[in-house]
Every structure is written in C-alpha cells, then in structure tokens.
C-alpha cells in the first residue's frame, strides 16, 4: 500500500531564511507526486507536481522540489521564505498506474515564518 510520511510536523523559520520540508513515500509502482498548500481557513492549492521527466520541478511562489527515486523522497524547498508562506503544506502521491487517481496525503507540515 502506498503511504506518505512528512517527517516534520512543524518547521519554524525566520523570514528570508531557506527552508526544506521533507517528504518520503512508499509505493511499489511509479508515482505521481504533489505538494499542496493550505492557508488558514482555505482549501488546498497545488504548489507543484512531478509526473515524469526532470526530477527537479518548480512551482508557484518560488518553491521547488526534487524527486529522488532511490531515496523515495520528494522534499520541498524554498531559498528565501516570506511571512506570507506561513501555512500547512501537504505532500501527496498517487500511483498513476491507471487507477482512480486518488491522492494519499501525508500528515502535513506547518511552516511558521517568523519576522
């Protein structure tokens, strides 16, 4: 069965500092990987996705992530965070193997950007 582990429940960081939010997945087949962001009292917004091709993917708001198949990881990074990046971040996977395409989410990581 597929699963997603986000290794940090909370990540406090100062404004303009770099940040990495870690995500590991388990799956026996090829995967599609996603990062979603949830701002307070809002829905889920796609940050970026890996479907195939280049393992380094760039998303909105200056975020990027690298797919590492050997380490089954898909860590999210940003070189310089802003106060407005404070939110909950979810890593998600689906197998892309012709199934229904449901997403399996990690537990989420709360990014707290401090001034």
């Amino acid at each position: 069965a597929q699963s997603v582990t986000q290794l940090d429940s909370q990540v406090p960081v100062f404004e303009e500092a770099p940040v990495e939010l870690r995500c590991n997945y388990s799956s026996s087949v090829s995967v599609y990987l996603f990062w979603y962001v949830q701002y307070p009292n809002q829905g889920l917004q796609l940050l970026l996705k890996y479907l195939s091709g280049s393992t380094l993917v760039k998303g909105i708001n200056g975020f990027e992530a690298e797919f590492n198949k050997s380490q089954t990881s898909f860590h999210l990074r940003k070189p310089s965070v802003h106060i407005s990046d404070t939110a909950e971040y979810f890593c998600a996977v689906n197998t892309g193997s012709g199934n229904t395409g449901k997403l399996i989410f990690g537990q989420g990581t709360t990014l707290q950007v401090k001034p």
Partner: protein, 112 residues
C-alpha cells in the same frame, strides 16, 4: 480561471440529521472525489467517481455515505444520520485525467 466550487462553506447540523454537501467540479473534468479532513489531522480520501459510478471508496465511506451526480454538473455527498465524529472539513476535487486534482474551498461540517 476555472475552479471547483463547494456550498455551503459551513454547515451546522444536529446529530442524527442528514446533510448534503454540494460541489460543482470544473466542467471538462472526468474524475470526481470527496476527501475529509478532521481538525488537526491529515486529508483522507473518501470516494472517487468516474463515468457515473463509484470507482473506489475508502473504509470510511460506509453505508452512511452516498454520492451522486444528478444533473451532469453538480456532485453531491450525502451523509445520513450524522454523528459527532463526522465533524470535519469536506473537500471536493476534480481532475481531467492523469493530471493534478483541483480542490474546492471545502465545507466545514459541524455536528452538534
């Protein structure tokens, strides 16, 4: 930009009552989903719907739940005889194919 819309944004209901959560997916999408997020927990898959039938459902999605696409545009989740533990944020999502899913803003269901 097309978006998934959900109504109502917040629903309060008494325990034992039935509720219907409504969603309008993006018009050319083919796959439809409901997810649930209990406060402070992760987002959980409930059910997927394709070609006018359920394609997959989770263990959570028991006989208390049902989904329907009554008119080709709306996609509803019905919860019968609500329980306190059904209190959660419910998200509708849709996608076109093997691409990303687009989520609505969610309906916060509070069972009292």
């Amino acid at each position: 930009e097309p978006e998934v819309t959900q109504t109502p944004s917040h629903q309060v209901t008494q325990m034992g009552q039935e509720v219907i959560l409504r969603c309008v997916p993006i018009s050319n999408h083919l796959y439809f989903y409901w997810y649930r997020q209990i406060l402070g927990q992760k987002v959980e898959f409930l059910v997927s719907f394709y070609n006018n039938e359920i394609s997959e459902k989770s263990e959570i999605f028991d006989d208390q739940f049902s989904v329907e696409r009554p008119d080709g545009s709306n996609f509803t989740l019905k919860i019968r005889s609500t329980k306190l533990e059904d209190s959660a944020m419910y998200f509708c999502a849709s996608k076109q194919g093997r691409t990303e899913a687009f989520f609505g803003q969610g309906t916060r269901l509070t069972v009292v």
